[in-house]
Symmetry: C2
DNA sequence: CCAAAAGTGTTGTGAGTACACCCATGC
DNA sequence: GCATGGGTGTACTCACAACACTTTTGG
């Protein structure tokens, strides 16, 4: 059997990527979604998605789709899993590979996203999404919780400089449960991976909270020597 | 834009499934692999795989491919992740969705597998596999370790009746480190999810070890009430 | 009787958790 | 001067880890 004949006559499929994009703003976890512009389900809420092109890796497809649809780029992104039920897309048989992403919401991102018709919605206000997108979101939330537990990915959602109350608030959102203030500080500071800055952020209190910066180099070094991140 | 025109003119792709199939025999974790029968790389070692057919979900494709290639069916199987680099398959651009599976190796399975040209190899003896299959295997091992830690999937690899030394041996293989005999017994028995049988297995000692059975119903019930499996 | 694997308890330690008051400052 | 959120220390509990001897029985 020649190579040509092995790969020939094999059915081909539409392959899409869908992005579950998390952000953190005003103390709330948020999701970026858009109004679908094409039939079927035109006008319904949808994750950001698009088709994998020829000669394009699926990872690159996710990056491209995100940039084209929202103007966002250079962010933390990882594959979630693929969704391959035959009837998941009501318009055609489409196999979709879901990616989840974490971004720092800033005015810049917000403006770009808005210009592209994308919206940040609080996780508690997510409407019915098309197809199996709600399931993708649930799976992504579960993955986010799992990842956050043992990997320092929370910092991908915060500005470069952040306060400990902000950081704790973020993890409370991710885990959906309150965390003790003192124990949280103790644990995160004990890891010795944060750089304490002189500046204070007075935007949320009169006293002001110290700003910190995540020291990735230090984190990498300590990880080499057996440090296990855990929050 | 009509539905037809949205999905038309979108490039289509070959989509494969590849199965990382773990078994446990003679106190060793093993992997089921085959000799590839087609070019390119004919004769090289490969994971069990095949193409997703039209009108077939990817989950079902994995089940079908496994059955057709090895005669094995009705086993624990879960999606790992997809692999979408453009040049991962040297014969054509193929997007592959990897599944990992756990099976109880028995004479029955072994004969079937052999008849289909499949071989069980100890994890320490895995040769170079085609394409990115070694990477898939590594990812699957990592997933297996993660899953085994908090989910009772180890039992999928053991016969219905097993001894505690067998069970401990299995986890030592999965984690690649020795586990304390007493602490292991204490922990697993404390969960109260094993049924102790009267019979003993004398195949590996003169004294004989008690046989146990995993009580899934009890496990499910206890899980409802907050039990967290952990080994 | 002895080799070989199965089975059995206790103790120390470190991490997790619970918990209440003072501090700094803008208004 | 007071309201608001930021910051700090201690004590208890429990799960984990370390560890050595007895039991059973086939040969």
């Amino acid at each position: 059997m020649s190579p040509a004949s092995f790969y020939a006559n094999v059915p081909r499929h539409l392959v899409a990527v869908d992005c579950i994009i998390f952000g953190f703003e005003d103390g709330k976890l948020k999701l970026l979604i858009i109004k679908r512009k094409v039939d079927p389900m035109e006008g319904a809420w949808s994750l950001v998605g698009g088709f994998v092109q020829e000669g394009e890796s699926t990872d690159n497809a996710a990056i491209r789709v995100l940039r084209q649809t929202t103007g966002i780029q250079d962010i933390y992104m990882d594959q979630l899993q693929s969704y391959g039920d035959t009837d998941r897309d009501t318009g055609a048989r489409v196999i979709s590979i879901a990616y989840y992403a974490l971004i720092r919401i800033s005015e810049h991102d917000r403006l770009l996203a808005n210009a592209h018709g994308a919206h940040w919605l609080s996780l508690h206000q997510i409407p019915e999404l098309i197809f199996d997108h709600n399931k993708m979101l649930n799976d992504a939330m579960a993955r986010l919780r799992d990842q956050a537990h043992f990997h320092p990915i929370g910092f991908e959602l915060l500005p470069e400089k952040f306060t400990l109350p902000q950081l704790r608030n973020l993890y409370e959102e991710i885990y959906q449960r309150p965390l003790d203030k003192r124990n949280f500080r103790k644990k995160i500071l004990a890891m010795d991976i944060l750089e304490k800055l002189e500046e204070k952020d007075k935007s949320s209190s009169k006293k002001g909270a110290h700003l910190y910066r995540f020291d990735r180099l230090k984190y990498d070094a300590l990880t080499q020597h057996g440090l296990v991140f855990e929050i």
